[in-house]
Each structure stands twice: as structure tokens, then as C-alpha cells.
Symmetry: C2
Subunit: 244 residues, 2 copies
């Protein structure tokens, strides 16, 4: 350690580490306290090793943690932002935010791919979610490095508000009913929505609608209006028919 390093209380950092530190500081919005957390967060399993004490050195554990933090921060954000929307709406919009495609594209916006260490042959794999997963791991690292409140602010200010158009996300492709009808026309099937009352937990103000394809019941939806109940039934049917 040089005099100046001792004097400043710092140990020497390689140029590579310094560049990595600056890149993370740029993404997170302030200097990381524990750079090793972020090194781990960007270490893909194709290259990570196993330490003597059996610890798998890759970003998968941090990804698990970051995924949970992200889900909760997004849940709270939507809960507060949309006080008059029901839990079906909140669940749907959250799933659009945390789904693979969105996370991969956010990771690209943030410049995560340049930081991830992985085996060359892994890079070509299209359709996988290496970078979206690494983004979740980085979120896990931010949470461990700086705590919940800081991490929440990081997710909202540096990711969601910066790169996501929530109202676009909400209005894209919500119309499951027209999706089903379109599909049925193409497949020459007959779609019908019928009022029903099969479940005995229905409240007096709720509607229940069954969706039938060629006279076979495919799904049931409930809601506080017929339109909502139809949408729910259609959404369920889209899932079953793998149209989503």
C-alpha cells in the first residue's frame, strides 16, 4: 500500500476494477460500498466456479433476491399509483413489468450486457434471459449494499421512471376478448360468452361469465361488470390456448 493509499484509507484498485466501479456507480447513481457484490451479480453461471467451502460463485442467488425485491417494489408502486384499480389489474401490470422481455430490454438500456462475464459460447443464445437475470442480480446487490429504501428509489427513479412507459404498458394488448375472437375467426371456431352462476362464492354485485368455444366451456370470469367478467374469462382462455 502506498503512502497516499494509506493516507486516503484506500487500497490499490486495478484499472479494470476502477472501470467496473465507475460503470456500476453510473448505473446505481452513487458509489457502491461493496464492489464484490456487484462482481458476483455480473458473474454468469457459465463461468462461475465453486469455492472450497462449497459456495457456488455466480449470480443466481442474487438474482433470486433481486427478483423478490423488484416484485415487491413494483407491487407497492402500482398499489399506490392506481388506488382505484383492482388486484387483477395490479397483478397483470406487474407481470408485464417483470417479464423476461421487459427485463432484458431494461438491462440493455442500463448497459448491463457490457458488464456481464460469461463464456463466449453462451453469448449467442438468443431468447434466453441472461441479461434480464443479471439486472435482477444487480438489484439484489444494490439491496444488500444499500438497504431497502435506497434500492426502492434506485428501482423507481433509475429504472421504472427512466425507461418504462407505464401507460403504454397498460394500454398495450389488454383486449383479451378481441384476441380470442380474432383467433376463433382464423381457426373457424365459434366463440360465445354466457352469463352463468356456477360458483357459490359470488357476491351480489358480481357478474360471472363463461366463455364457450364450439359449445365447450373453456373458462369462467368474474367481475363487477359484464365487460370485466368477459375480459377475465377471455384472459383465462388466452392462457389456456397459449395465445399470450
Amino acid at each position: 500500500m502506498s503512502f497516499w493509499e494509506k493516507f486516503l484509507g484506500k487500497t490499490a484498485r486495478s484499472e479494470k476494477d476502477q472501470l467496473f466501479n465507475d460503470a456500476i456507480a453510473n448505473i446505481v447513481g452513487s458509489e457502491p460500498k461493496n464492489l464484490d457484490l456487484f462482481k458476483l451479480a455480473t458473474l454468469h453461471s457459465s463461468i462461475g466456479s465453486i469455492t472450497k467451502d462449497g459456495f457456488r460463485e455466480n449470480n443466481e442467488r442474487l438474482e433470486f433476491l433481486g427478483d423478490a425485491v423488484l416484485s415487491m417494489v413494483v407491487a407497492e408502486h402500482l398499489f399506490v399509483k392506481y388506488p382505484f384499480q383492482d388486484e387483477g389489474f395490479l397483478t397483470e401490470i406487474r407481470s408485464r413489468i417483470v417479464k423476461r422481455e421487459t427485463l432484458n430490454s431494461l438491462a440493455n438500456e442500463l448497459g448491463i450486457p457490457k458488464l456481464v462475464e460469461l463464456q463466449d459460447r453462451t453469448k449467442g443464445n438468443r431468447g434466453n434471459s441472461i441479461y434480464g437475470n443479471a439486472l435482477e442480480a444487480v438489484i439484489g446487490a444494490v439491496f444488500l449494499d444499500r438497504g431497502y429504501t435506497f434500492c426502492k428509489k434506485f428501482i423507481l427513479d433509475k429504472i421504472i421512471k427512466q425507461y418504462l412507459d407505464l401507460s403504454l404498458l397498460i394500454h398495450t394488448d389488454t383486449n383479451y376478448k378481441s384476441k380470442i375472437i380474432e383467433w376463433a375467426q382464423k381457426e373457424a371456431k365459434e366463440v360465445a360468452f354466457e352469463s352463468t352462476n356456477q360458483s357459490n362464492t359470488l357476491a351480489s354485485h358480481e357478474f360471472e361469465i363463461a366463455l364457450l368455444i364450439d359449445h365447450h366451456q373453456i373458462s369462467i370470469g368474474t367481475g363487477t361488470s359484464k365487460k370485466r367478467a368477459e375480459q377475465e374469462a377471455a384472459q383465462e382462455a388466452c392462457k389456456k390456448l397459449k395465445l399470450l
Copy 2:
């Protein structure tokens, strides 16, 4: 408002509200600040109404929020408690904690059913998760009432550590391989595990095992030992065969 109520800064509380307040304080471990949050958390949709401004007055939004908080607190707890376990283990144990049966039984332990308001005809429905959902809603209410740190302590100290035997949860029924073999014997099918190397993202220290039933490949598992890879393949097969 009486002189004493004004003097003490309190409004009169009905006896019913006072009993409800005491029951919540007993569950949460300290007096609730906003009792209305907990009233909403215990209001099932079979009885909840819609207010003039279109707000659905029932516990489903709070359930959405509480579910996210619980998932995250459990994720962090497991992450810290099991530093040498991989994300597959963490995911599996978390799903055992937050699954319907566990939440329903925790709700019973905490005395939630006595507090939930719902239509009489709904009560008989076995196999549903009214009380487990209400527990999640109560967690959401605690989070809004007292913040993240308090809510985390509530979940860990008053729920997880109090009523869950984690090591029992971990050692119950983890053996997917024997589950598959048992099933195959009963169904007179032939099960085989074969080493393979189909995916090109496999790290040098990882094993890949395919599970075959009557010579058809059902699933693939990877892991840092053959045993782990077999378990993963067997778990995947159990899911596909709906044996879980």
C-alpha cells in the same frame, strides 16, 4: 365527543371496534395506528361493497400487496439463513412457505378466521384460501400501517419463527426421484436417468441428466453433482406429470 375524549385526543370507539383493535394488537404485537386498514384487510369480497368513487371495498388489493411483502421478506430471510444453498433450494423452500396450505394453516394459528367478515354461504367452501388470503391482506395492512422494517420483524418473529418449523419444511418430501420411481412402479412404466449434454450453456463443473419414461425424454436437470441433476430432472418431471 366527551370532555375526556377531547382531553385524551381520542374519539369514542364502539365496543366492537375496541375488541377488533385488541385482537389485531394481539396478532401484530402492538397497537395498530390505522384500524381501518385492518378492517379492510379482513373484509372478504363476498361481503365488500363498491363506494361512490368506484373503489371496491374488500381485501383483495391488500392481499396483492401483502403477498409481495411476504415473498420478499421470506426471500431475504432464506438468502441470509442459507448462504451455501443455491437459488433452486431457496425458490423451492420459499414456495413451500407461501403456498396456500401453509398460509391457511398459519392464518388459523394466528386466529385470523374469527376476524374475517364474509357471507355465511361462503364459509362452507373447503379447499379455498379465504383465510390464507386474509393473512396476506393483514400483512399488507401492517406494511402500510408501520412500514417495511416493522412488517419484516412482524413476519419473521410473529409468524415464521413462531409457527413454522423450517427444517421440517425442508426435509419433507424433497425426494422427487423416489416420487417418480414410486409412480412409475404403480403405473408399470420404465424410468431411466441418462447423462446427456444437450444444452450448450453448461459449465464445465455441471452435470446434465435426462429423465426418460418408457424411452421418451420427459425432462432435463442440471446440477453440480449427478444427484442434484437427477433431482432437478425428477422435480421437473413431477411437475409435468402433476405429481406435486
